[in-house]
Subunit: 475 residues, 2 copies
C-alpha cells in the first residue's frame, strides 16, 4: 500500500500531504503502473534529492555559486553546478522540455532550477524535498531570459559559430545559454555531441531554453549510454517515470481533476480518452476529422458501433457504461459523438457517455485558469483506460506518458481528407522529439539518427521526429 | 409489482410490450407516485376503453356515425359520439390540450379521436386497447382542420354570435367546431357554461382546436362537479393521472429517454431538473437569468453553495453525487453551472454533475428529431427528484405533471432584472390554464373565476391564469 502510494519507490515520503494532496493521492485515481522504476533510478533520485537539499536555493552552496556568475572565480571541486530551465511555450511543451532538462541534470550531476514563468508555481507542486526547485526571483540573469536567443552572446551555439569558445583552456565561462528551441541551428545542435558535453561539464551555470522533448537524442550521446541503460532498463519509460516523479498538480488543479473524475468518470465501467488537437485555423468541427475519429474508434473497437436502423432493442437493465473523455479546443467533436450515442443504441448494448471538460475555442496560453484547465485535462486523459491522441501534439504526449498508455495516434490529415488508416498504434508511450539533430558527431556529417540504435526510432506521427521505443536493455 | 407496473391500476394490461416498451417499463425509471388514482377513475378508464373498442375507428359504430356527418340523420340513442382533437401548437401545449380534451371526452361519454398532425404517431403510443385513437386519414373534414378558426361557419362561437344556433329545437348540427385557442372570443368561451354544454351534448361530432390546458374551467362547470370530485378526490392530480395514462413515448423516443437516463442520471444519488425557457429573442445566456437560476437553486438549497475562496478541501473519497438535468434551447446556462461546480468545491463536499441533452438554439417545431428530443427531455425532467421550472412554459408543466413534482417556479423577469424572490414554490403540480374565461354563466357578467372555489386559483406564474390546486374533496 505504501509502495503503491509512492508509485513503486518513485516518490519519497515525508512531504506535507495537505500542501500538495495530489502527490500522495494520485495512486487512488490511476491504475498501478505496469512499469516499475528500476532500483537504480530510485537510488539516483534519492541522491539527487540530497544534492538538491545541499545546493538548492537558500543554501550556502547556492549563494557561493551565484557569486561566481559574475566574478568568474574558478570553481572548487565540491561546488554545485546548475541547470536553469527557462519557462517557454505551451504547457505540454513545457512539461516535456522540463522532464528532458531534468534527465540531463541528473546525468550531469547538476541541480535543476526552474524559472517560474507565468504560472509554473500555480500549476506544479515542489517535487524535491526541503529546498524549492523554483529559481529565486533575484537570480541575476532572470531579466534576460525572454531575450535569450540563438544570437545572444552567451549562447553556446553562437559562441561556437563565432569561435569564441576556447575548448583548450581551463577558463570556461561561468554560465552559458543553451538554445534548444525548435528553430535552433547546427551549432546549437552540437549540444548533442560528446566533445561539447565535456566542455559544458565544466560550466557551473547552464541556462536552457527549449520547447522539445530532447531525450531521444540524449540516448544517442555515447557518454550517457551506460548510465541511461542502468536508469531505464525498460527504455520506453523515461517520461512515464520522470513525469510522474516531477509533475504533481497543485491543490486547485487537483480539485479540478478529482471533482471532474468523481462527477463524470468514476462510475464508468471503462473509459476512453480522446485528445483532439486540430492544427487548423478554421473553426471546427471539421468533417474529415470527425469522420477520422469515428473511423479510428469504431474500426479499432475502442467504441461500439451504433444501430442506425433504429431497430428498437429492448434496453438492458444494467448495461455496461463506457465514459469517453474528450479534450479539444472545440466542442463540436464531442457533441457529435454524444448525440450519436444518444440517438442510436450501441450494437453491444453498452451505453456511452461523452464528456468534455472545456472548449476554449482557441489557444490562450496566458490566462491562469486556462492552463489550470489544460493541466487538469492532460491529467484526466492520463487516468483513462485507453487513449486516442492527435499527431504532433505534446498535450497528448503528456497524457500518454503519465498514464503509461500506448495510444492510438490519429494520422495527420492532408488536403482535408480522412487518412486511411485513420489511426496507428504507438510503438511506445514516449513523447516524440520534434526537432532532433541529424548529425554524426564523429564523422561530422549528416546521418539518419533514427536508424542508429534499435531503441531510438522515427516517430509514428512525425517522420523526422525521434522517439525512444520499447526494448529491454539490448546493449 | 404488477400493480406498480400498471401505475396503481391506471394502465390496463394486455398490450404488446415490445410494440411500446415505455408503457410497462416506466415504473422502472420513475419513483412510485405518492398519488394513487381513485378506484372510480380506474373504473371509468376501463369503461372508456370498452367504449373506445366499440366506437373507435374501423368499427361499425364509427362508420355509421361518420355517415351522419353529412346526411344529417337523427342520432339513435345507442350511437357513439366523438370528440376530434386537432393537433395544434408546440409539443407541450399539445399534450396539455389533449389531456384536457380527453377529460372532457370522459365527462361527456364520448370517444376521443386524435388528428395525427406532423408527428403524433411518431411520438406517442396508442393509449387505448385494440382500437386506435388516431383519426382515420380519410375523415371527411380533415382538410379543413388547418383553416378552422373563430370565424368558420361551423365554429360554435361564431354560430352563437350570428344567432344561427337554434337551442330550442331538436335539430342540432351533426358536427361543431369548438375554437378554444388562446385567441378565442367571448362567444367561444360560452363552451364553459352549463346551458351550452346541454346543447353540445346532442351534437355527435365535436371538433376541438386548443393549445390550452382548460381543465381548471371545466372544474367550474356545475354539471361536471360531482363526477370530477369522484374521479379526482385529490384535486391537483388531474394531469398527473391522465398524462401518465395517455402519453407513452414510442420506442425510438423511449430509446432516447432510457439511454440518456442510464448514461448520465442513473448513477447519481440525487437529481434535480432545471427547465430553462427564456421567452426572449436575444441569444442567451442572459446574465439576469443566470443570476436568477443560481439565486433560486442556492437559496432553496436545491444545489450546494460553492467555496469561491478556493480554499482547498481534501477531497472526500466517495462524495454524494448530484445530477442536474438542464433543458434549454441555449447551452450557456448549463455550461456556467457545470463550470462552477468544476472550478469550485461544493461546501457540502458533494460533487455536482450538470447534463443537458440538447440545445436547439431556437424552437423548430417541424423537424421530427426536434420533437422527439423535446418529448424525451420533458420525460427525463419528470424522472428527477426535484424540479425548477420556468414561468409560462407548458414544457415544464408536462414534466412536473408526469413526474408528480411540485416545482420551484422561476418568476418571470421584468426589465432584465433578476426577480426577488427568484422563484416560488408551486401550489400544485397541475398545469396552468393560460387563457381562462372570466364570465359568470348565471349572471352573465364578468367575474373573477380564480376566486369561486378553493381548488381553482390563479396561477403562481401567470396572474390571470387558472389552475387546480390541492385539497381533498372539500365539497
Ligand atoms: N484546456 C485545453 N487546452 C488545450 C487543449 N489543446 C490545446 N490547449 C491549449 O493550447 C496549449 C497547447 O500547447 P501545448 O500544451 O504545448 O500542446 P501542443 O500545442 O498540442 O503541443 C495548451 O497548453 C493549452 O493551453 C485542450 O484540449 N484543452
Ligand atoms: N429539446 C428542447 N426543445 C425545447 C425546449 N424548450 C422549448 N423547446 C421547443 O420549443 C417548443 C416549445 O413549445 P411547447 O412545448 O409548447 O412549450 P412552451 O412554449 O414552453 O409552452 C417545444 O415543443 C420544443 O420543440 C427544451 O428545453 N428542449
Amino acid at each position: 500500500k505504501s509502495n503503491e502510494k509512492l508509485l513503486g519507490g518513485l516518490l519519497t515520503s515525508g512531504f506535507d500531504e495537505a500542501a500538495c494532496a495530489s502527490r500522495y493521492q494520485s495512486f487512488l485515481y490511476r491504475k498501478i503502473s505496469a512499469y516499475k522504476p528500476s532500483p537504480y533510478l530510485v537510488s539516483r533520485l534519492r541522491n539527487y534529492e540530497d544534492l538538491h537539499k545541499r545546493c538548492g536555493p537558500a543554501t550556502q552552496a547556492y549563494k557561493s555559486a551565484l557569486e561566481k556568475i559574475h566574478s568568474g572565480h574558478k570553481l572548487g571541486s565540491m561546488d554545485c553546478k546548475y541547470v536553469v530551465w527557462i519557462s517557454y511555450s505551451g504547457l505540454g511543451n513545457r512539461m516535456l522540455a522540463l522532464a528532458s532538462t531534468f534527465l540531463y541534470t541528473l546525468l550531469t550531476n547538476r541541480v535543476l532550477l526552474v524559472d517560474r514563468g507565468n504560472d509554473m508555481e500555480d500549476l506544479f507542486c515542489e517535487p524535491f524535498p526541503e529546498k524549492s526547485w523554483l529559481l529565486p526571483t533575484n537570480f541575476p540573469l532572470i531579466d534576460q531570459f525572454n531575450s535569450f536567443d540563438q544570437k545572444s552572446p552567451h549562447c553556446y551555439g553562437s559562441m561556437l559559430k563565432n569561435n569564441v569558445v576556447d575548448t583548450s583552456t581551463e577558463s570556461v565561462p561561468s554560465y552559458l545559454y543553451l538554445h534548444l528551441v525548435h528553430d535552433y541551428g547546427d551549432h546549437d545542435k552540437l549540444f548533442f555531441c560528446d566533445d561539447d558535453q565535456s566542455l559544458l561539464a565544466k560550466v557551473p551555470w547552464l541556462i536552457v531554453k527549449t520547447d522539445n522533448y530532447f531525450v531521444p537524442s540524449i540516448f544517442l550521446i555515447p557518454s550517457f549510454e551506460e548510465e541511461l541503460s542502468k536508469l531505464f532498463p525498460e527504455k520506453g519509460t523515461v517520461f512515464h517515470h520522470l513525469g510522474r516523479y516531477l509533475f504533481h498538480p497543485t491543490n486547485h488543479v487537483w480539485g479540478l481533476i478529482t471533482r471532474y473524475y468523481k462527477t463524470y468518470l468514476s462510475k464508468a465501467d471503462e473509459s476512453l480518452g480522446l485528445q483532439i488537437r486540430v492544427f487548423d485555423t478554421r473553426p471546427g468541427p471539421l468533417k474529415h476529422v470527425m469522420d477520422q475519429i469515428l473511423a479510428c474508434t469504431l474500426n479499432q473497437k475502442l467504441l461500439p458501433e451504433v444501430d442506425m436502423q433504429d431497430s428498437f432493442v429492448m434496453p438492458i437493465e444494467n448495461p455496461k457504461l463506457k465514459a469517453v473523455l474528450v479534450t479539444s479546443l472545440n466542442s463540436g467533436y464531442s457533441e457529435n459523438l454524444r448525440n450519436m450515442y444518444w440517438e442510436y443504441p450501441a450494437m453491444t448494448g453498452e451505453v456511452v457517455g461523452v464528456y468534455q471538460p472545456s472548449h476554449e475555442e482557441y489557444q490562450q496560453s496566458e490566462k491562469q485558469m486556462h492552463n489550470r484547465r489544460a493541466w487538469a485535462e492532460m491529467y484526466l486523459l492520463s487516468l483513462t483506460d485507453g487513449l486516442v491522441t492527435s499527431s504532433w501534439s505534446t498535450f497528448g504526449y503528456v497524457a500518454q506518458g503519465l498514464g503509461g498508455l500506448k495510444p492510438w495516434i490519429l494520422v495527420k490529415p492532408e488536403n482535408d481528407t480522412t487518412p486511411d488508416p485513420p489511426c496507428r498504434p504507438a510503438m511506445s508511450m514516449e513523447p516524440c522529439f520534434h526537432a532532433p539533430p541529424f548529425y554524426d558527431c564523429k564523422t561530422k556529417r549528416g546521418i539518419d539518427t533514427g536508424a542508429l540504435v534499435p531503441h531510438v526510432r522515427h516517430c509514428e506521427d512525425m517522420s523526422w521526429g525521434l522517439k525512444v521505443v520499447d526494448g529491454y536493455d539490448e546493449l
